[in-house]
Symmetry: C2
Subunit: 254 residues, 2 copies
DNA sequence: CGGCAAATTGAGGTAGATCAATGTCGGTGG
DNA sequence: CCACCGACATTGATCTACCTCAATTTGCCG
C-alpha cells in the first residue's frame, strides 16, 4: 500500500561476532507472506495498519551460540523468531546464570525493552535461527495509530509470563530423564522431520546446571529405547518418536 | 477530599475457610498512614488522585496456609502485602506445582488479573499475613483519571517479572544449604527482631520439592553454627545472624 | 490426659556429580 | 591427500548430596 521509503532500506551489516559464531543481516523480511505474522504481535492488525510501518523489518540469521543481545544494552529493536531456537538467560544476585525461557517460532523477544528502553536479560541462539528485527520506533507509531495495539501488547506480555512459568515447572522439576524429555519436545522440527539440537553441555545448562555426562547417558538410553534416532553421527540432529517421548516426559506425580 | 460513600462500606465477612485456617476481614485500611503506600502501586499518585477512590480498601488477615485466591477464579481485587509472607504457585502441564515467587511487604499480588479478568496462579499465606484488598473497579477509574497510572502499572508489572527471575536464580540453583540460606533471608523480620517461618515441609516445597528431613538437618546445622537461634522450641520462629547467613548464601561460583 | 501434627535423628539407598580415559568428527595447514 | 588438532561425545569408576523409610520426641489443642 504505502511506499515504505525504500531509501531508508540500506543493507546494514550487523557485525557482532563471537569467535567464528556470528550474527548477520540476511535481507528484508516479506512480512505479508510470513506465516509468523499470524501468531506474533500483529495477529489482529489490519493490513492497512501493517502497511503503515515506515521502517524496514530486517531478517537476521544467527548461528548456534550467537548473542542476539546482552543485559542492559540500549534497545532499539524487538525480535520475533522465524525458525530455530534461542534461550533467554537472567543473572542472579551472585552471578549465577539461569535460563528462564526458550523461544521458538512465533515468540516475541525483548518485550520488556519496549517499556524500559534497555534489554533485560541475555539472548543466545541454540541452533541455527532466523529472527525478524522490529524497530521499536515503528511500534510506537503503531501504538499512536491503532487502538487495539496496546491491548495486544499487554496480552503478548502476559503470555510471555505464562511461557516462563511453564518453562519453570516443565524444565525445573522431576528427574533429569523427565525434564530432558520435556526439553527435547520443545525443540522445533524442521521441514524434513529432523530436530536440530544444541551441544550436550548446552542441554545441561538449559535444564539448570546438569552435568553434560548425565545428558549424554540419558540420550544414549533414549536412543537404545528407540525413542530417539540419531541422524547425524554425533547426535546433534535427531528424529523423535514424539508419542514415546511424551510418555517419558509424563512419568510424573499421579 | 471526596466522600468515599461510606454507605458502600458494609463490613463483609470473608469466609473461605480451609480446615481451621481462615481468611477474615479485619477492618478498613487507613491508606494515608500506610507505609506500604510509598512502595506499592500508588508511589507516584497524588493525594487528590488517591482520595478519588470510591470503593473501600479492606484489610484482610490471613493465617498460615490460608488461600488468598486460586487459579482461574474471577478476579475483582488486587492485593498488596502489608506484613507476613505469601507464596505464588503455578501448575505445570502435568499437574506439578511450582512456587514462582514469594511476596512480602509492599509487593503487589494478582496483577495479571487486571488484564485477564481471572486470577493466574494460586496464592497461599506462609506465615500470618495482612494484605490490603484493592477493588479492580477503583483501579480502572484511576486509569481513566490519572495519566501516569498506566505507566506505573507497567513498571509494576515488569518488576514482578524481575522478582520471579530473581527467585528462580536464587532459590533454584546451588546446594540445598545455599538455597535455604537465601530463602531464609527473604522472610520478613517482625518488630522484635524475630523471623516467623513456615513448616519444614513448606520450606522444602518453596525450594522446589526438597525433603522435609533435609531441611530439618540443615536447620539444626545452621543452629549449631550459631547462624540461627531458635526462639520457639520448634524453630518456627528464629533470630537470624544475617551476616553469617549471607555468607552461607554466597558460597556459590567464583 | 490422649491424640495429632510437626520436628528430630538415624540408617541405608540412589540419582546424579565428578574425575578420567578414549573415541570420533570436522576443519586447517602443509 | 594426509597429519594434526580441537571440540564434542561417549563410557567407566567412584563419590556424595540428598531421598526414603523408620523410630522417637515434642509440643499443642480439644
Amino acid at each position: 500500500m504505502t511506499d515504505s521509503s525504500p531509501q531508508t532500506r540500506k543493507p546494514i551489516r550487523i557485525e557482532r561476532s563471537r569467535g567464528e559464531r556470528s550474527v548477520s543481516w540476511n535481507g528484508f523480511s516479506d512480512c505479508h507472506t510470513c506465516a509468523v505474522r499470524q501468531s506474533a504481535l500483529f495477529a489482529h492488525m489490519s493490513e492497512a495498519d501493517f502497511a503503515a510501518i515506515h521502517y524496514p523489518i530486517d531478517e537476521i540469521r544467527l548461528r548456534p551460540g550467537a548473542l542476539l543481545y546482552d543485559n542492559g544494552e540500549r534497545a532499539d529493536y524487538l525480535f520475533t523468531v522465524r525458525s530455530g531456537a534461542l534461550k533467554i538467560e537472567h543473572e542472579g544476585a551472585s552471578g549465577q546464570r539461569r535460563v528462564t525461557a526458550m523461544m521458538v517460532r512465533g515468540d516475541l523477544i525483548g518485550l520488556s525493552a519496549y517499556v524500559l528502553g534497555n534489554y533485560d536479560g541475555r539472548v543466545v541462539a541454540l541452533t541455527d535461527a532466523m529472527v525478524c528485527r522490529l524497530p521499536i520506533a515503528s511500534l510506537r507509531e503503531l501504538e499512536r495509530g491503532s487502538p487495539g495495539f496496546m491491548q495486544g501488547m499487554q496480552e503478548k506480555w502476559h503470555s510471555t509470563l505464562v511461557l516462563t512459568h511453564a518453562w519453570l515447572t516443565d524444565i525445573g522439576m522431576g528427574s533429569v530423564r523427565e525434564r530432558l524429555a520435556r526439553l527435547l519436545l520443545r525443540f522445533p522440527i524442521d521441514a524434513d522431520g529432523a530436530t536440530p539440537l544444541c551441544t550436550r553441555r548446552e542441554l545441561g545448562l538449559l535444564l539448570g546446571d546438569v552435568a553434560l555426562e548425565t545428558i549424554s547417558r540419558q540420550m544414549t538410553a533414549l536412543r537404545a529405547e528407540g525413542v530417539l534416532e540419531f541422524i547425524d553421527a554425533r547426535g546433534r540432529q535427531v528424529r523423535i518418536d514424539r508419542d514415546k517421548l511424551a510418555e517419558v516426559a509424563n512419568l510424573n506425580r499421579a
